[in-house]
Symmetry: C2
Subunit: 468 residues, 2 copies
């Protein structure tokens, strides 16, 4: 028997035969994610039902040296959940409970398979709020959010996933179960391994439960849509708005290509000459929000907006947001291929970044719709192409984009992580000494390199490129 | 020549002879901190002037296997800066510049020797705000704040140090200089080593520069002081206040012993029957704060406060806070010995924790003034004693306190860290597997164990107990 067969036999014995899927037609569904990463069909899919089962899976995988790729909702943008070295994909559909909501402590305990949007809706019924809101919230899972340290539009006001994780239960590569962090808001005993595991893309350990911090649900929310006649006006407008002391819950930017694509679906009546949109949301106390809305709307007009629309009803707001949320999928329908980058630059450099995107589009005759979280300087730069021959042009343009981002003292990824697709570019941002240090930390957690192998680190990525 | 002499020779060559202090009368000043840890006079004190010099110091120390204990303001409460294995104390008086404040990006770049209070005052001149406010802010340094992940009263609303660190430059044990993290608010490239180094008590690397996030300075601040006739009423009052949606910038608790000590110095006119005080601060927009103050004051009265005083002027507020800030030193003057614990429990368990403190006081005939950050369930439990024979009683009481804290699902330290004093207790909270994992991470960063050795880990603590 092969090492894999031995491992699966041990897993079936521990978790029951129904937990292991070997049927190829079913395994195919676990081969890819929502990125251009080449899908790889895993040799088996294991559905764990408990921490103890995850531990048994890892013990067997460790003993027999079988790769294990943990998978949340499969909505990743860099191939993080793609099993590039085969082996087992470990899924959490059976570990999808919100185990506890504590209204007094403002915490919740959740399993990794919980869909983020479901968690958000559930706690909101109790007038609580879980702020992280990745675009894929209705299909991504908390486990994946922890693995990537997910953000979203409201990270501008409320911060990213890490800031809401108090503690977690993790299973290490050898099956050891550890409790990391605290149940309290503060705690400084030992190293902050919770923060280390968050964002580690499933390469250090598997989160089997997390204690998340909640906040009181904002009483009310209002949304403004400001239309601008030029992209150049937008970055200074954002800067001025914020320096005036406004604290929106988010400030989303859409460039003209993004507007062109989203416009028919959104049914928006906006001025024809609109070349950029800022979607600004304010939340807080109901009694104060009308005043804030007026002040903010006037400020946007003063900053040169052609028109400022206010979503009057929750229906209008939902429609506005639905089109923004669907933007990524709408873009995908525009061309056969789509590469979505999520670079970040210091906010004052956003105008430079937008100019770079325009130049790359002109020079390479590529369609590069850009949108994203303007308040954080975190933009989604999308490359769309049909003709496979254009791929080289796209690769060149991506590299130039990254070079410019680094020049502007930014970072290659604000939300998606590194995964497979960005691994070759990591040395553009990080020194080899820093990458080496991270790999040595990886070795401590996962000496046999069985946990989501082939991710993050360029050496690995290179070594295993083209395996599938 | 001894390894130390060799190392110092190399250091003098690299940093200049004035950088190395060998005079014993001067070295004595670097032997202890503000805790009961037995002071240890280092064999040398090195004052570095630049990152390059820190790197040279570590290269020499690494080559010759000499312990290096980095030291900030020396205000620690657990012996973190005490050179328990001798060697070199590395100080940062010469690296104390605020190198840059970016009003648009809301960031600042600082060297580790900057005094926290000075940073706070400087950025406030620009209407910016650096929220972390450890009690010792006028003498502690940012480097020490990073090492302990310092908190303070306003952590309740604004979070702890880690939440304000975007990136940092660190020197590893072997002298390697690394840039960690980002200059942008978001960034998920690779592992979050910034968060790992923050709170690592100088055992993983030496921070030589940090990029910190700032926020706009709150327009105005108001302070309320609510007097209660019993300690039992306070925990429920805090809980109810917060569940009503109030978001104070802090909620500080003082028990009757703390009040007795602080009262003469504060010149407060409060009801004689006061057994507990809540100091509640609100901040925000000036125009809205009066309304908030009234609502919050009425809520405190409804929750059973004997009297609610409002600090009408900034002078009154300063006096109120000065006495709160001096409390720790006032306590120290009450007895020959003082041990200050900083346990945290879930906020809903604070009443249980306060009862435990009262029981420990009664049963052991010990004076145990308790105060702290009630909004976070983070209390400073102080043990005061004169007679050395009482030490055993204190040790027993501390152990029972910690047992109770763990039962209540709390943590042994919310702000101070582990250092020397709490190292023997770490296994009460963390499994041996977790401690072992942390030690293996330590090995990656510092294979020769020269960086602040003898801290955090109980095995080390035991092995080197009584060296001084």
């Amino acid at each position: 028997m092969s090492p894999l067969d031995n491992a699966l036999l041990a897993i079936e014995r521990a978790c029951g035969s129904g937990s292991v899927i070997r049927d190829e037609s079913l395994r195919e569904g676990y081969a890819g994610d929502e990125s251009e990463t080449t899908p790889c069909i895993p040799e088996a899919v294991v559905r764990a039902s408990s921490t103890e089962e995850v531990s048994q899976v890892m013990r067997a995988a460790f003993e027999h040296g079988v790769p294990v790729t943990p998978r949340g909702g499969g909505t990743g943008r860099v191939g993080g959940a793609v099993p590039v070295r085969g082996g087992i994909v470990l899924t959490f559909e059976r570990m999808a409970s919100i185990k506890h909501i504590d209204r007094n402590e403002l915490t919740t305990r959740v399993q990794p398979g919980v869909i983020t949007g479901e968690l958000k809706r559930t706690v909101e019924e109790d007038l609580l709020y879980y702020p992280p809101d990745p675009n894929s919230r209705d299909s991504c899972a908390i486990g994946g959010n922890l693995a990537t340290n997910a953000g979203g539009p409201r990270a501008f006001k409320y911060g990213v996933t890490r800031e809401y994780v108090l503690g977690m239960e993790v299973v290490l590569a050898d099956g050891t179960v550890l409790q990391l962090g605290h149940e309290t808001k503060k705690g400084v005993t030992g190293y902050d391994l919770t923060a280390l595991v968050v964002g580690s893309e499933g390469t250090l350990g598997i989160v089997t439960e997390a204690t998340l911090r909640l906040i009181p649900k904002p009483e009310a929310t209002v949304t403004l849509l400001a239309c601008f006649s030029g992209l150049d006006e937008v970055a200074p407008a954002v800067q001025t708005l914020l320096s005036q002391g406004h604290v929106p819950s988010c400030i989303e930017l859409l460039d003209s290509e993004a507007i062109r694509i989203v416009r028919p679906e959104a049914g928006l009546t906006i001025p024809d000459e609109t070349k950029a949109i800022l979607l600004v949301e304010l939340d807080g106390e109901a009694g104060r929000l009308d005043g804030d809305l007026e002040v903010c709307g006037n400020a946007l007009t003063d900053l040169g907006a052609l028109e400022v629309l206010v979503a009057q009803t929750s229906g209008e707001r939902d429609r506005l947001w639905a089109s923004r949320r669907e933007l990524s999928h709408s873009l995908r329908r525009q061309a056969k291929n789509k590469l979505s980058e999520d670079v970040v630059v210091p906010r004052t450099k956003m105008a430079d970044l937008l100019r770079t995107c325009a130049e790359l589009s002109d020079e390479n005759e590529l369609v590069i719709p850009t949108y994203g979280h303007a308040g954080d300087g975190n933009l989604h730069v999308n490359f769309l192409w049909d003709d496979p021959d254009q791929k080289r042009k796209v690769d060149d343009a991506v590299k130039r984009l990254f070079e410019r981002v680094i020049e502007l003292r930014g970072t290659l990824s604000g939300e998606h992580g590194i995964g497979v697709l960005k691994a070759p570019y990591l040395p553009m941002e990080q020194s080899l000494a820093l990458i080496d240090l991270q790999q040595r930390i990886k070795d401590v957690f996962d000496p046999k390199h069985i946990l989501n192998p082939g991710k993050i680190f360029p050496a690995d990525a290179k070594r295993f490129h083209g395996v599938c």
